[in-house]
């Protein structure tokens, strides 16, 4: 096992019971994501992309296989420790932003900091909001922000604790093409700055040029892998 890897998944299988017929969402998938690497996961609906992301991020226990982070097989941890691990090492960006509507942008970004008991949460949240270009809108509620701005707040929330890896599930799914491109550029920049890894599930094949590596999934298996070492 490479100790430098952000996350390692080994022979992961996940089966969903659908009536009498079990559906193999993942079939012995093995994957490694390195620090600073932006990996895109592409594939048709139902190919198992989101299930793989959930499994690697400690949200859904696989039926077989292991997920390793920091030399720890994460599914051997109890719920409490797994929650702690997620808040310490993982960041999440979801398609529908999922900001709490009664909290301002600044308060939303502070959530992971407060969960971890990190000192000076306001200062750190303000800094990262400035970094994502929302320095002037820190006290705005989500309803007062555009879709792109809300997703930038969600990105700031995911990165504020400098996680080892950011899991992004269709982060540009609700954004127009220009905003999506801006968002992707920002995500790549921040991930690189933090030396975090990023595993992103997307349908959008137009953005693949921004990834260090593109993985394709079909019927619960990784079928193709393309490295883009010289990505700019």
């Amino acid at each position: 096992m490479n100790q430098q890897s952000a996350v390692i998944g080994k022979r992961i299988s996940r089966i969903f019971p659908m009536g009498d017929t079990p559906v193999h969402a993942l079939r012995e998938v093995s994957i490694t994501v390195e620090p600073g690497e932006l990996v895109m996961l592409l594939g048709p609906s139902g190919s198992g992309k989101t299930t793989l992301l959930h499994t690697l991020s400690g949200l859904e226990k696989p039926d077989q296989g292991d997920v390793w982070v920091n030399d720890v097989s994460i599914y051997t941890l109890n719920d409490w420790k797994l929650s702690k691990l997620r808040s310490q090492y993982f960041g999440f960006v979801f398609q529908s932003f999922n900001l709490l509507p009664t909290l301002s942008a600044l308060e939303n970004v502070q959530i992971p900091l407060r969960l971890l008991g990190i000192k000076q949460p306001v200062k750190k949240a303000t800094e990262i909001l400035a970094r994502v270009g929302l320095g002037e809108r820190t006290h705005h509620k989500p309803s007062q922000l555009s879709g792109g701005e809300q997703q930038r707040v969600a990105l700031a929330r995911a990165l504020v604790t400098r996680p080892k890896i950011v899991y992004a599930d269709e982060p540009t799914g609700n954004l127009d093409s220009q905003t999506s491109l801006d968002m992707m550029l920002l995500l790549r920049e921040l991930v690189s700055e933090n030396q975090s890894a990023c595993l992103m599930v997307t349908h959008n094949s137009e953005m693949t040029h921004l990834a260090h590596r593109v993985l394709h999934m079909r019927d619960g298996q990784l079928v193709e892998s393309a490295s883009r070492a010289g990505v700019s």
């Binding site: 859904e60 929650s83 997620r86 808040s87 709490l100 909290l103 959530i111």
Partner: protein, 362 residues
């Protein structure tokens, strides 16, 4: 963390104001029906039990020189339903020993229904029960000779001013005035008797021990004849009342659980997100409990103001104060059920996997 939890609570409340309003109305409705029906049934049960008692519906006779302090001490004993202080003595009528009572106070439970004449007014007036009048052939307006059992005075003559009805439940002892009693026995020798009726739930022996613990030279006599029957009747009524109340409680708990489920489900995605970013499950229970607490408290205060006029409109005889006391004690049962429902519903969400919460919310 506390401020974050308060914000989450705030978000819970604001997320769906209509659902919140519906929940408050549901609490108001179910709490009102629980209190109203429960109170009415309990009162009915006590009334039924009292109506099945005999003409002498007491469980203890206690002879002592009562003062306000002693009376208060006895009144405070658990299990006591009624306390009346009477004056009475034993007299000879021919060869028979009978009990002669002074006219009781207005609040007495004794039934004094006259067949003829009127209640005693003067010291030589006496009212006879129908059974004695019939047994010895006495008529209204005639005289009767009585002699005290406890003194050596000559027999005293009384004028029969009334005859009690022979109906079931009507007093079966003769009655005179207090001054009439002093003609047979000096006032200083007329020891007052406390007549005690229990609530049908307390055990006789337990209550007797409590009475004995008070001390103060009391002579205690236990009347066991009808108490067991009263207890059995009350147990039956209590079972019925408790069964109906439990039914209301279960229906209320189910409907509140469904409402809670709907409310919490609308925020399932966010619960999933918070769990994904590392919020531990127990913290997520707090905003839900606070929400239930808020809803139930608003429900309680709404019921507090609306219940008395509703009860009055429905013709419930219970006094406002008693009704509010019932509301107050029943509220804690209700709040407990509400909290339990919240816990059950919230555990449903917290035990689900996070991806499942995401899927269900879509």
């Amino acid at each position: 963390m506390i401020s974050l939890l308060l914000r989450l609570f705030h978000w819970n409340i604001l997320r769906s104001r209509l659902q919140l309003l519906i929940m408050i109305v549901a609490v108001l409705g179910s709490l009102s029906s629980y209190v109203l029906l429960g109170t009415a049934l309990s009162e009915m049960s006590v009334q039924v039990m009292e109506s099945m008692r005999s003409e002498w519906p007491y469980d203890f006779e206690v002879e002592a020189w009562f003062d306000a302090d002693l009376e208060q001490q006895i009144t405070k004993l658990p299990g006591l339903s009624r306390l009346e202080i009477h004056t009475m003595t034993e007299v000879f009528l021919y060869s028979e020993t009978i009990r002669l009572l002074a006219l009781p106070k207005e609040n007495s439970v004794l039934l004094l229904e006259l067949e003829q004449g009127e209640l005693p007014t003067f010291e030589d007036d006496i009212v006879l029960p129908a059974s004695i009048a019939m047994r010895y052939g006495y008529q209204l307006g005639e005289s009767i000779q009585l002699q005290s059992v406890k003194s050596i005075n000559k027999p005293v003559s009384f004028h029969i001013c009334g005859i009690l009805s022979g109906k079931k439940g009507v007093l079966t002892y003769p009655l005179t005035t207090y001054d009439g009693l002093t003609r047979l026995q000096p006032a200083e020798k007329l020891t007052p008797t406390a007549l005690i009726q229990l609530d049908g739930r307390e055990e006789l022996l337990t209550f007797e021990k409590r009475l004995q613990n008070i001390g103060r030279g009391m002579a205690i006599k236990t009347l066991t004849q009808e108490y067991e029957e009263a207890q059995a009747n009350l147990t039956l009524s209590d079972t019925l009342v408790n069964g109906l109340r439990s039914l209301i409680l279960m229906i209320s708990a189910s409907s509140l659980s469904i409402l809670l489920y709907i409310t919490l489900r609308s925020g399932a995605y966010q619960i999933g997100v918070l769990r994904a970013v590392g919020m531990e499950k127990p913290w997520l229970l707090i905003p839900a409990f606070l929400q239930t607490l808020l809803v139930f408290n608003i429900g309680y205060f709404s019921t507090y103001f609306l219940l008395p006029p509703v009860a009055q409109t429905m013709g419930l005889m219970t006094e406002k104060q008693a009704l509010l006391q019932h509301l107050h004690s029943d509220f804690w049962v209700f709040l407990g059920v509400g909290m339990l429902s919240t816990l059950v519903v919230q555990l449903q969400f917290l035990s689900s996997s996070i991806p499942r919460l995401f899927r269900e919310a879509l």
